[in-house]
Assembly symmetry: C2
Homo-oligomer: 456 residues x 2
């Protein structure tokens, strides 16, 4: 990138917020996706909407690419820039308003998701999306990726909560969509399109989300299953009994072992699966639902069933699931965390495919995830220096994704396509899907400067 151009950018955000040193560029050359690295030409940390608009107008004029970035927890390479300008949102981190009358919150993109949780929960309100990364990742990143989380089964994902956005378009123009109204059908629905656009359609400078009343009670339960298939059947049976838990999470044997080695929470090493279940809401409802869950788990031959007796114990039980990725990641240098998603009735066959594929390619794959959503995270523990094993891992995931698609599932439930899954997307959405998506990109960003090369 030419020095004269960097100087122009510097006049917009100021010297101290223009990073060009080797170390910074190296750091911003990664996100949380294994095997990928791509250094930016410069990293900018703007402090306001108007700075963002000026950066985009300038880059648009010069034909230089811009990649929005939050905390870089992206798992599909979506925040890597390929030599262009990275615009990082950490300085735009104000919770602008919590509107208790309209049940909305308005935030800047750099707000950490769990900071919003704390702010609204203090007022008896609730922002449900809780991605695994919620203590690090930003609202802007969550919106761009349409992040899910452990409470997705009952409460949905980020897109279900975004009601208003202010977006700087590729050419620096502003687009206001929605607001605080809960209903709006004026023209095409642009909010859900911008949510999950992975930084390719615009840069969010203001995000308004819907809040709900905070559930008054919660019961956390853990069940051990000697047989994997019984755990999967228990998941289906809980839903069929018309109980929709907030959280219905699964850990397989490989994951259980890693978690226990890492956090010593007392998980058994001789079972095939563990389910973590949380029901929340009105105390009377929660008590009934917990009783149903216990009865169903016991009917499906769980060998152990525990109900947390207080908040501390609940936290300890949930830790088993919350630390799954960190625990798996300790075992080998490279952790390929995948995101295959199927209709929830296909969890049992999907788990079988994953285990058989791991055996066939001689790989260690631990699987955990949002069983109630059919959203599994088969996680391959490998070493990117071992070219042969990496090739086998890719071959295995190829088969796993094909199986997910064949079951009516998808290649990514919550991590996005980014760079990592581009080659799988056409299999899922077909030629007509890719054509339409390219056309939409063209409508927002005809010069293709926003996060180029991602998604398709």
């Amino acid at each position: 990138m030419e020095q004269s151009f960097i100087k122009e950018l510097q006049t917009i955000v100021g010297d101290q917020y223009t990073l060009t040193d080797r170390e910074s560029l190296a750091v911003y050359g990664y996100d949380s996706t294994p095997e990928l690295e791509s250094r930016p030409g410069v990293v900018l940390l703007p402090g306001s909407l108007s700075e963002v608009a000026r950066i985009l107008a300038l880059c648009h004029g010069a034909g230089i690419s811009v990649t929005p970035r939050g905390s870089g927890t992206n798992l599909s390479g979506g925040s890597l820039s390929g030599g262009g300008v990275v615009v990082q949102t950490s300085r735009m981190n104000r919770i602008v308003e919590v509107d208790e009358e309209n049940l909305t919150a308005t935030v800047e993109p750099g707000v950490i998701t769990s900071a919003l949780h704390r702010e609204v929960e203090g007022r008896g309100l609730f922002y449900p999306p809780d991605p695994g990364s919620m203590n690090i990742s930003t609202m802007g990143g969550n919106v761009a990726e349409n992040s899910g989380g452990l409470r997705g089964l009952k409460y949905g994902v980020t897109a279900d909560y975004v009601t208003g956005l202010t977006t700087v378009l590729a050419d620096g123009e502003l687009l206001h969509t929605g607001g605080k109204t809960v209903k709006d059908v004026a023209g095409y629905s642009l909010n859900p399109l911008l949510v999950s656009s992975e930084g390719t359609l615009g840069f969010f400078t203001s995000i308004t989300v819907k809040l709900i009343p905070k559930p008054r009670a919660k019961i956390t339960m853990l069940a051990h299953f000697p047989e994997l298939n019984q755990a999967a059947l228990a998941v289906s049976a809980i839903i069929a009994a018309k109980v929709i838990p907030a959280t219905l999470e699964f850990l397989d044997k490989v994951t259980i072992k890693c978690v226990e080695d890492y956090s010593h929470v007392g998980l058994p090493l001789d079972v095939d699966a563990v389910l973590l279940i949380e029901v929340d809401g009105h105390p009377a409802v929660v008590a009934e639902e917990a009783a149903s869950v216990e009865e169903i788990c016991k009917r499906h031959r769980c060998s152990f069933f525990q109900t947390a007796k207080d908040a501390d114990e609940a936290l300890k039980l949930a830790t088993a699931r919350r630390t799954a990725l960190s625990a798996l990641a300790r075992l080998k240098p490279t952790t390929i965390l995948e995101d295959a998603t199927v209709p929830r009735s296909c969890i049992a066959p999907m788990l079988q495919v994953i285990q058989e594929t791991a055996r066939k390619y001689n790989l260690t794959i631990g699987t955990f995830g949002h069983a109630g959503d059919g959203n599994l995270h088969p996680t391959c523990l490998t070493d990117e220096r071992d070219k042969d094993e990496i090739a086998r891992a890719h071959a295995a995931f190829d088969e796993i994704f094909d199986a997910a698609i064949a079951m009516g599932g998808t290649i990514t439930g919550e991590h996005g396509v980014g760079l990592a899954k581009k080659r799988y997307l056409p299999r899922l959405v077909g030629e007509s899907g890719i054509k339409v998506m390219r056309g939409i990109k063209q409508a927002f960003d005809p010069k293709g400067i926003l996060n180029p090369g991602k998604v398709f």
Copy 2:
């Protein structure tokens, strides 16, 4: 339209499903929008996806426009064709599947919405969207318009339930988006974009929606308020007390009088407002919420508060609201039903604007609607032959929409833009919004044959 072209269409759907007689074309020249008429060249009633695809491919090749149509209950002129081909969905009316394990239903576009309600409720499941037209309107139409309804406050609108679509694109190609998975971030979110696209982006041939467990209990309540402002404050106070009723509906004095004349349900003629409130869910929760609602209404000086003692009485109370439009429509030859929506905290000022504007332009405007959603239906009772009054009505709605926009609201909460609100859309979404929407249209339908002239 040339006879030879109609003959070609006839070979696709068959003679008896190709309507060209004067009477049919006259009937299909209207939908439920006042003041608008536009006869099609021909009306087709295809019986399958493949017939729809062949119709579109043929029309695309010939550059002839196609307007999808359900039951024609559209309130914004969205189903009027302007001389082209109308493709009506009534023969594609199968409920293809109710999947109790995955909590989904898959339907063809011509299924009547209340038929789906009956089918799933018989299995203890629930499809919440319940537009006023639900006994006549189709699922295809509901999806195209993103229909709301009386249960929107707690349960959201059509877009919140559509998880999968099969869409025939303008050129006859198929697009499959989503499915039964509850989470999917593979590429841009096309489902919510297609939902509410008002027939301009594609023709839905299969719709998969999410179901939820049917609420076990419901309590229906009616409150009379001598002061309009107190009714509006009660709405805000109910939400602020963290009670989210399924239904929180409002009728003003003009509407109350019309409803009482029409259905003799015993509404008072001396109050300014009536609220209809329904809470549903677990019996214990419902009892507590109903008690809160009663206390809040009384605190806001309601003059009468009634709790339905059984299902029959609940139906009778709800009838007051369900018949509002029919009751108003009896009074004058032309009923202009509008759809201004504001953040719910702005209901009181919005009602004031509507009343003042009615006085200023010497019009009869009755207002009812989804108070909990901030979605009001100011309804002007007029006569389209009275050119002067019609001009005043349009001037009044101009001011009402400007006020809604100024309060952070929108020009349509659930009826769509169609033809009727095209001129208001730029005020709301700005030049950049219109540009992006036109680009999206271009991506789906470069020749512009699908329902041309609508939305923008």
